[in-house]
């Protein structure tokens, strides 16, 4: 039976330089055992470097890395109790699927027979029983990906690392595979660190998301927390698009804030906002669009519109800025240069710091 251990991960003041370039300036984070945590961020934010330092493929310039409470900072990759699923899968093309899975087991001292047995078990776990004799080139992309997962899990690591595991799959397959990975993780209860730049993927699989920006943690929390209460314009925009505009917090009552944006007044969850000027993140789907000029609301002029089947995209210029809007009312399309009035719905609007 393959039963990975669930180890914790801790980074203490990690700094990583490549020559004179600072990839990570000062990173500290903890990952609870048995959770799936996503490192999310745009390319170049240091998320892959973080994962590779955890794997032992890069060594930090300063700081400490602990896996399962043990300091592994100086240990090389092959002496760490983690294993990794690579973006390109990195299946050994000259070995069959089962040989690939058995490879790590043989490296860690299992006998050839034990390794084979465990490898077959691992392949069965990912639904590839009976396909073991095939070479990677004879497997589909999705199957290759599952061999890569089986190969990593067969070692029963304390932490499983996944580096953009879905990026080489087509869009349809992606949804299925990410569900499979999440199911497997919850069934076996292992700790997983998952790197991606796709926020949908992150929202779908994670217990917790760590958003990174320029080598630092920008915000971390549960998926809902990040989406509904982004701490900054960067987070708001990265976790699904958002219009960021200035607003005025008028008053705070019972955990709700009264805000004013131009001529529009609205109530949103207060968070830790205080009365005074603030910034507001507004999701494109949270704007109610009405034809013509109304007394209440934010009046504006349509700059651009495009019909996209299940919604209509608009850009509307108002006194506080240009809004990007996704309107579900597809029966009518407001023509360019016509007048429109904007209102806010009850969800998807948050006061942000910074």
């Amino acid at each position: 039976m393959i039963s990975p251990k669930a180890g914790s991960v801790e980074f203490r003041n990690i700094r990583k330089m490549f020559g004179s370039f600072t990839a990570i300036s000062d990173l500290s984070l903890t990952i609870e055992p048995g959770t799936l945590v996503t490192l999310l961020g745009p390319s170049g934010c240091g998320k892959t470097t973080t994962l590779r330092m955890l794997a032992g493929l890069e060594h930090p310039t300063n700081g400490q890395i602990l896996i399962g409470g043990k300091d592994v900072t100086m240990l090389p990759a092959n002496e760490r109790d983690v294993s990794m699923v690579f973006q390109s899968y990195a299946l050994f093309p000259h070995m069959s699927a089962v040989e690939n899975v058995a490879y790590g087991l043989e490296s860690s001292g299992f006998s050839r027979r034990e390794a084979r047995e465990k490898a077959e078990e691992g392949l069965a776990l990912v639904g590839l029983a009976g396909m073991g004799q095939r070479l990677p080139a004879e497997l589909s992309g999705g199957q290759q990906q599952r061999v890569a997962v089986a190969r990593a899990l067969a070692l029963e690591p304390q932490v499983l690392l996944l580096d953009e595991p879905l990026s080489n799959l087509d869009a349809r397959l992606r949804r299925k595979v990410r569900t499979d990975i999440r199911d497997l993780q919850q069934k076996l209860g292992f700790t997983a660190v998952y790197v991606t730049h796709d926020q949908d993927e992150a929202l779908a699989v994670s217990d917790r998301i760590i958003i990174m920006k320029e080598g630092e943690v920008a915000q971390s929390g549960a998926p809902r927390e990040l989406y509904e209460a982004p701490a900054s314009a960067f987070i708001a925009d990265f976790m699904g698009e958002a219009n960021v505009v200035s607003c005025e917090v008028i008053a705070i009552e019972d955990g709700r804030a009264r805000i004013r944006v131009g001529g529009l007044e609205h109530q949103v969850p207060a968070g830790d906002a205080r009365p005074g000027p603030a910034r507001l993140a507004v999701r494109p789907r949270s704007i109610l669009l009405a034809e013509g000029r109304k007394g209440e609301g934010l009046s504006g002029k349509v700059l651009h519109s495009a019909y996209l089947g299940d919604h209509v995209e608009y850009e509307v210029e108002t006194e506080v800025g240009t809004f990007f809007i996704e309107d579900a009312a597809v029966d009518r399309v407001l023509p360019v240069a016509s007048d429109a009035t904007l209102g806010f719905s009850n969800r998807g609007i948050a006061i942000i710091g910074g």
Binding site: S43, H59, M84, F92, G104, A137
Partner: protein
């Protein structure tokens, strides 16, 4: 730390064995004769290191056991950083001390007066390093590497650190040290004292530097002649190579495949064979010469023996090389550039002249420099055709082996030659770097190359076809030549030459009675030993260069590429100057030949390995590492199997190069270990052309058989498998892909 302790223990035990169980100094009868076993604890010659200290007054060796004990003492230190630093320090001290004592104390005592005044005279000196001393030095290199690894160098990977240190150490000893020795040898007298007279005299020798031919005098110095020859050979072979490349890629020439076969010729042809065949055609007794002399009733000329003859031979030899380089260049010009030019209303001639040709320019310059360096380094053709008009490489040879026996002159000539080739090499690096317009992007660069303008097409055909016929005639001469009794005098056919070279008689057992067998088998043996070593060292180096980042990597790579530009003659001279006296004495042995081949041909393996390895996705190695495999296991289980075609190529190539090379070898052969090429040159010098040609054609046939055999046995099948692996038709395994985030 357990792994760290285990490997340290192994190395410490090895060090102990080197001190107690192996002869410390060089054994005259040869290590592999194992005659030292009987005298190990009883004679001064074969005694191990410890005994040398205790019984034979080599007190200075006491430092070695002390350092080993220190290493053992460091073992229990718990803090890895501290332990690593101490180990590295002791290891470095060991390597330095062993090298220094080897250089400082010679056969009779101190080599340097400085040390003699410091420490007082020694009663006895020491012979060259033997198995024990060499092994101890390697032990300290490893201790040093382990120390660095424990400090986290190269991500704490002891195998990688050791590999880098060992390679750097070996390259220092077998490439750098000989060259430095040669420089020192140039300013030393026979007894080793500093005496720059010979150096200064030779440096100012008009025989080298005279420019009198420019102002109408007799003859220019050998340096200028060599330079002139190299420029002419480089130019001619570049132009011919370009013509060939254009014909092969841009015309409807019907025998394009056959044209590409031409590129295999320089690999299998021993370098002096072309010159030899030319003498059969145009020499004093050559067919063409005699025919023309009869026809016009003139005296047969000797025009072939001199720069002209060497030039023709070199152009014949190097055109296939520049051809190979220029095929890549010509094909590298993106068709869409040419198509763009045509849509901009340029005709074919204007497109060629203004777009294609300028894009090829850096490639042409590169081809010229390759031809230039090859010409400078060429030894075989000038030796056969030079007569009294030598070039630098042959002058070096005669300075060493001739009646002059003037090592200082040889060193000066070698330094001049080295200066020329290295300048060309630096020109190639500095001037051409970043100017590579070859536009193979791998992105949808469709479209076809346009045909050549009509006039140009006719011109290149008019050059290429006669030249092909000429080349065929030359190789025809090589085949026929071995069967002709005496050229010019008696042109009847005979098997005598083959019989003399390769006769075998059955007298109870097989007796190899032919004169060639001795050198033939030696050649095969040495080539067989050195080929796998060359491939190993070359591919390991390629792995380190492609896959690992370490301090001084660029320098290391640069030095390796540079060793390409060191002419074989220079290597030969430097090896005899470096390895004729303690601390390392190897002249006259098979070992020096093997080492010479390994470090001379290593760059080829490195280049092949780099090319092959760059196609393997780095994440394959990383995957193996995260799957608990060590670097050594990763190389064995993942990289080597995937590199099989590159390994085969490196093996075959180094094998063949070991057979055909002459320039360095001719300095290093001995009566006991004579190589085929050196033997053939001896035959030529004795005027035995028939046997020489017969032997040469035999070598060519043997090499053809070997290359073809390898192709058939492993080439095809592996290549097809490799294609599948490389994911050409299965984009789902993106082997060559780099990580994007």
């Amino acid at each position: 730390m357990t792994r760290g302790n285990r490997r340290l223990d192994v190395v410490l035990l090895t060090g102990l064995a080197a001190l107690t169980l192996l002869p410390w100094y060089r054994v005259e009868s040869g290590f592999y004769a194992f005659r030292w076993l009987s005298g190990l604890f009883s004679t001064a010659e074969a005694a191990p290191g410890l005994l040398q200290i205790v019984s034979y007054e080599r007190v200075w060796l006491i430092v070695v056991p002390i350092l080993l004990v220190l290493t053992a003492g460091i073992r229990p230190v718990r803090d890895p950083m501290r332990r690593g630093m101490l180990l590295a320090a002791v290891g470095a001290a060991g390597v330095l001390y062993l090298s220094l004592q080897g250089l400082a104390i010679g056969f009779t005592g101190w080599n340097w007066t400085v040390s003699e005044t410091l420490f007082g005279p020694l009663a006895d000196g020491q012979p060259s390093m033997g198995a024990g001393a060499v092994l101890s030095t390697l032990v300290f290199v490893l201790v040093f590497s382990f120390g660095l690894a424990e400090r986290g160098v190269m991500k704490g990977d002891a195998f990688i650190v050791s590999a880098i240190s060992l390679l750097a150490f070996l390259v220092t000893v077998f490439v750098l040290y000989p060259i430095v020795s040669m420089f020192i040898g140039a300013v030393q007298d026979y007894d080793g004292s500093f005496k720059p007279d010979g150096f200064i005299r030779n440096m100012q020798d008009p025989g080298i530097w005279s420019l009198s031919c420019v102002i109408g005098g007799a003859r220019c110095g050998v340096a200028w002649r060599t330079l002139w020859l190299a420029i002419m050979s480089g130019l001619a072979s570049t132009l011919l190579g370009l013509a060939f490349a254009l014909v092969a890629t841009r015309t409807r020439f019907p025998y394009k495949k056959g044209l590409r076969l031409l590129t295999i010729l320089p690999i299998i042809t021993p370098p002096f064979v072309i010159g030899l065949a030319l003498t059969l055609l145009f020499g004093r007794a050559g067919i063409v010469t005699e025919f023309v002399a009869d026809l016009l009733n003139i005296e047969p000329g000797r025009w072939l023996y001199g720069l002209t003859g060497i030039w023709i031979a070199q152009v014949l030899s190097f055109t296939p090389i520049t051809f190979l380089v220029l095929i890549g260049v010509v094909e590298g010009v993106s068709p869409s550039m040419e198509e763009a030019s045509q849509t901009l209303r340029a005709d074919r001639w204007r497109t060629f002249r203004r777009v294609s040709l300028p894009l090829m320019k850096p490639g042409l310059a590169n081809a010229f420099l390759i031809g230039f360096i090859e010409s400078m380094a060429d030894f075989g053709n000038p030796l056969v055709l030079g007569g009294s008009h030598g070039v630098l490489s042959t002058e070096i040879f005669f300075a060493v082996v001739g009646s002059q026996n003037d090592p200082s002159r040889a060193a000066v000539l070698a330094i001049v030659l080295l200066a020329f080739t290295l300048s060309a090499f630096f020109a190639q690096r500095l001037w051409l770097s970043g100017k590579n317009f070859a536009t193979v992007t791998g992105k949808g660069d469709s479209g076809a190359h346009i045909a050549l303008p009509k006039g140009l097409s006719i011109a290149v055909h008019a050059v290429v076809i006669p030249w092909i016929l000429f080349t065929m005639a030359i190789y025809g001469m090589i085949i026929v030549g071995g069967f002709v009794k005496t050229w010019g005098l008696d042109n009847s056919l005979t098997l005598d030459h083959y019989a003399r070279a390769f006769s075998v008689s059955y007298d109870g057992g097989i007796a190899w009675t032919g004169v060639a067998w001795n050198s033939f088998w030696t050649t095969m043996e040495i080539a067989l030993i050195s080929a796998p070593l060359t491939a190993l060292v070359g591919l390991l180096t390629a792995y380190l260069i492609v896959r690992q980042k370490f301090a001084g990597k660029n320098l290391f790579e640069f030095a390796l590429l540079m060793s390409f530009a060191i002419p074989g003659t220079v290597i030969g001279v430097s090896y005899i100057m470096a390895f004729n006296l303690p601390p390392l004495e190897m002249t006259g042995s098979a070992l020096i030949l093997v080492l010479c081949f390994v470090f001379r041909n290593m760059p080829v393996g490195v280049r092949g390995g780099i090319a092959a390895m760059s196609q393997l996705d780095k994440s394959l190695d990383e995957a193996s590492l995260t799957l608990r495999a060590s670097s050594a296991r990763t190389i064995r289980k993942v990289i080597l199997p995937l590199l099989r075609p590159a390994i085969t190529a490196a093996l075959v190539y180094s094998f063949v190069r070991a057979i055909t090379s002459i320039s360095a070898v001719i300095f290093l052969v001995s009566a006991e270990y004579n190589m085929a090429t050196a033997y053939i040159v001896g035959l030529v010098e004795n005027g035995e052309y028939g046997v020489a040609i017969a032997y040469s054609s035999m070598l060519i046939v043997v090499m053809l058989v070997i290359i073809a055999g390898f192709q058939l046995a492993v080439g095809e099948r592996r290549l097809r498998r490799e294609n599948r692996i490389a994911g050409v038709d299965t984009p789902s395994v993106p082997l060559g892909q780099e990580k994007s985030a």
